[in-house]
Symmetry: C2
Subunit: 210 residues, 2 copies
DNA sequence: GCTGAAGCGGAAACTGATTCCGTATTAACC
DNA sequence: GGTTAATACGGAATCAGTTTCCGCTTCAGC
């Protein structure tokens, strides 16, 4: 986790071995307040105007200056990640749950549709993920890094059971799904249909690369 | 074909019935020259810097002012369409050829991979298609409108032969393929693999919506 | 050659991102 | 409760790119 601005703990960590160092002073309370309002504001603005909403809009809603936004979150993706954190965690947990309660293919399928819903539902997220905009550089790698383990697990289990081909990686899948979630006419329903098609392709063992 | 700035013919069309009208004067030769250099320059810049390259870059290479770019091509997508015209035509022709020389499923499959290559190879095109940027608004609809007929034909033929499910439209497919062509690690090879997966899903009749 | 319509160039206005720095606030220490 | 240095703040300034606009130039038609 390389979150630039997350809260740390309140306690200043005691100085390292040997070197005589002044204990770092505690984080300022107004900074903490601002960071909180910023996160709240961002969540709201992202939901209504998308993750690429102008920085000023977030700053205004949070009642701070733009400078404060950039100080806490030097790049846009830091802010997006901070806001999405919990939802991503929930996604991971659900993957683990499905894995342990469902048959291997069903678990994978259900989870992919759940993930599709997650990505397709966050305004501008899918587009940002593939925009190539340096402001969002950190996003794809963050999601991949977080989600990869669960997906690998589900994928391996289903492949071992012979339910799906084994020449597609978790990375491939996560990226493809997110691409199919880019909004357009048809809304999330379109994305779900295309993901279903992809999953059907996954089940087609006959054309597997060897 | 709703190309805003394409060449028209040299001859001013004679006036309509009844109304006495001064014959419109011929298009100025310098304007034609500029339009040509603009198209040449755009083709080059699009190839090297992507379809979202700054207007100034194109203007400079063409040896004209930015104003001239905007006069001929009020929105970016007009210019992109003008540049892609021939390649799209070629794509359509190839679809017709494949249709008449190949077995139905093979024709569809080959064509989709050919289309994948086309989209994945034009710098920034796939991203622009799904960017939602108003500057590119016209692009998706142009491509859809041009390509839809051939794809519908191939799709129908394969569906009639029972080779593929019939609950997926040409529109669905074209869009999905273009989404999977958005560049990233793995290059066009990734796109081709994912399109192959999608096609495999298409062949899976068992889960077809009824 | 004249003339006015058509077209030109590039400066100006605008939009949003990002940096910067003088000022305000705070934690720590007395 | 006062002092001080570190920290954080706000928003003006800067920057990059798009888009508009208008005085000047060039061309087609005569």
């Amino acid at each position: 986790m390389t979150l630039a601005a997350s809260g740390e703990t309140d306690e200043p960590s005691s100085a390292g071995a040997g070197v005589v160092e002044r204990a770092p002073r505690r984080k300022r309370s107004d900074a903490k307040r601002n960071l909180d309002s910023l996160l709240d504001a961002a969540k709201e603005v992202f939901a209504s105007s998308g993750v690429d909403a102008p920085a000023k809009e977030i700053a205004d809603l949070a009642g701070v200056g733009v400078g404060t936004v950039y100080r806490h979150f030097p790049v846009r993706s830091d802010l997006v990640i901070a806001v999405l954190q919990h939802e991503v965690d929930a996604c991971i947990e659900e993957g683990e749950t499905l894995s342990s309660t469902e048959e291997s293919l069903a678990a994978l399928t259900k989870w992919l549709h759940r993930y599709t819903d997650f990505v397709a539902t966050k305004r501008g997220l899918a587009a940002a993920l593939h925009s190539g905009d340096p402001a969002f550089e950190g996003l794809p790698s963050y999601l991949l890094q977080r989600l990869d383990p669960v997906v690998v697990m589900m994928l391996d289990r289903a492949a071992a059971a012979g339910e799906i081909r084994s020449d597609v990686t978790a990375n491939d899948l996560l990226r493809a799904v997110a691409q199919l979630c880019i909004p357009g006419p048809g809304g999330p329903a379109y994305s779900q249909r295309m993901v279903a098609l992809l999953v059907d392709g996954l089940r087609n063992v006959s054309t597997e690369a060897r």
